[in-house]
Symmetry: C2
Subunit: 236 residues, 2 copies
């Protein structure tokens, strides 16, 4: 399996640049993971102060996306990378776009935490919190697979997203029941619904990142491919 | 203003490749625009057959994304483009990702059209249809700006998205009122809500594409920048 040990480069400077950009993506991933953890904490405790921190913190995520993207373009123009180096830079450039969108999902979750009336919806908050912890673990494992450029772990995680989707469908059904039983609570419950939706999207983004890992390692674009086809590709 | 007339290239073959990829993106845009039109038609008439066509047609959109992306990578590796050529390829590679996601939004709208019970929700369908036509015009104008690489048009369109957002907020309020008045209709109305949400996301994607146009023409990454800052940048 290819890995990110890029010492094969004749140009030590180029190796250092690739190492640097790889570290920056992992740092951005770490920041997004903390944002997600805190957004879920804020929602489950309806902690408005923590929610505000998450909302403000998103600027940092956005800034990292732009600066890493600039660096990717600079490296392509200056180093004219080919083969696996080019795939690495393309995979990174796509990964940061998905990390940025996970950051946006955190903001949406944090905004729901500002609705104090959700205090009356504790059972729903517990469901979303559980789903949120699940998504956080999935993001953590995705970043792990990215650090090690582990295509097998990426394939396993790709499948994990289906579980999160089922959890989400269960929550939507639960939310519908609550809305039908107490129509006055509909505006509040819609806030929970947007938060649940945002958590579900985190899983989709992790799945995308897993596809970029497989693309880098296997040199094959597996987007829009079923799990079974992917598994076959991985063995070939 | 820079334009896409790339005849300056010494390599006629390279020019032909850039022309070809530009034409393929515009063709993909045309296909996505038809998908959006048909998805809105299907929803407003609750035409299940047309909705199925849209759902099946999304495979073609996905295939175009993958093949154009491969071509972008191939050109970078083979031609080692710099400056505006590299920006063009990066702008294209990001644009097709957003076009593909607009394609996903069309599928979500088409799926709502399969809910026959929405026949009882005609006023809501009219609101979503109006918003959908608005989004379709915005996509059409975005693709126009892309064909001409017109940064001024892109900036104006970027602002247009705020109108679509307000229209969306109005629809959400309308949906809440209907749900509160008739709780039994909640599951059906949620289908309309997902469709409205998908339409709103089309506007966000168009906004992204406008940012890539500005990036190509002005050489400046304007993501996460306010309209006022952008306007200032454009004048400088």
């Amino acid at each position: 399996m290819e890995n990110m040990n890029l010492s094969k480069h004749i140009s030590g400077q180029f190796t250092a640049e690739l190492d640097d950009i790889r570290n920056r993506v992992l740092a951005m991933g770490g920041l997004v993971e903390r944002q997600l953890e805190q957004a879920i904490d804020a929602l489950s405790a309806l902690d408005a102060e923590l929610a505000q921190q998450v909302i403000v913190g998103d600027h940092k995520v956005n800034g990292m996306e732009v600066s890493i993207d600039e660096e990717c373009t600079r490296i392509i123009a200056k180093r004219q990378p080919a083969a696996s180096d080019l795939r690495l830079i393309i995979a990174i450039s796509k990964t940061i776009a998905d990390l940025e969108r996970i950051g946006d999902a955190c903001v949406r979750i944090a905004k729901a935490a500002l609705d104090k009336r959700l205090n009356n919806q504790q059972p729903l908050l517990v469901s979303v919190e559980n789903m949120g912890r699940h998504a956080t673990r999935m993001l953590h494992a995705t970043l792990d697979a990215l650090a090690r450029m582990d295509a097998d772990a990426a394939l396993a995680l790709h499948k994990e997203d289906a579980k999160l989707d089922r959890e989400y469908e269960g929550i939507i059904r639960q939310l519908m029941t609550y809305m039908m039983e107490d129509p006055r609570s509909i505006p509040d419950i819609l806030d929970v619904l947007w938060a649940a939706r945002a958590v579900e999207r985190v899983g989709d983004r992790c799945k995308n990142i897993c596809e970029y890992i497989i693309y880098y390692v296997k040199g094959k674009d597996v987007r829009h491919t079923s799990y079974e086809e992917m598994e076959k590709d991985m063995q070939s």
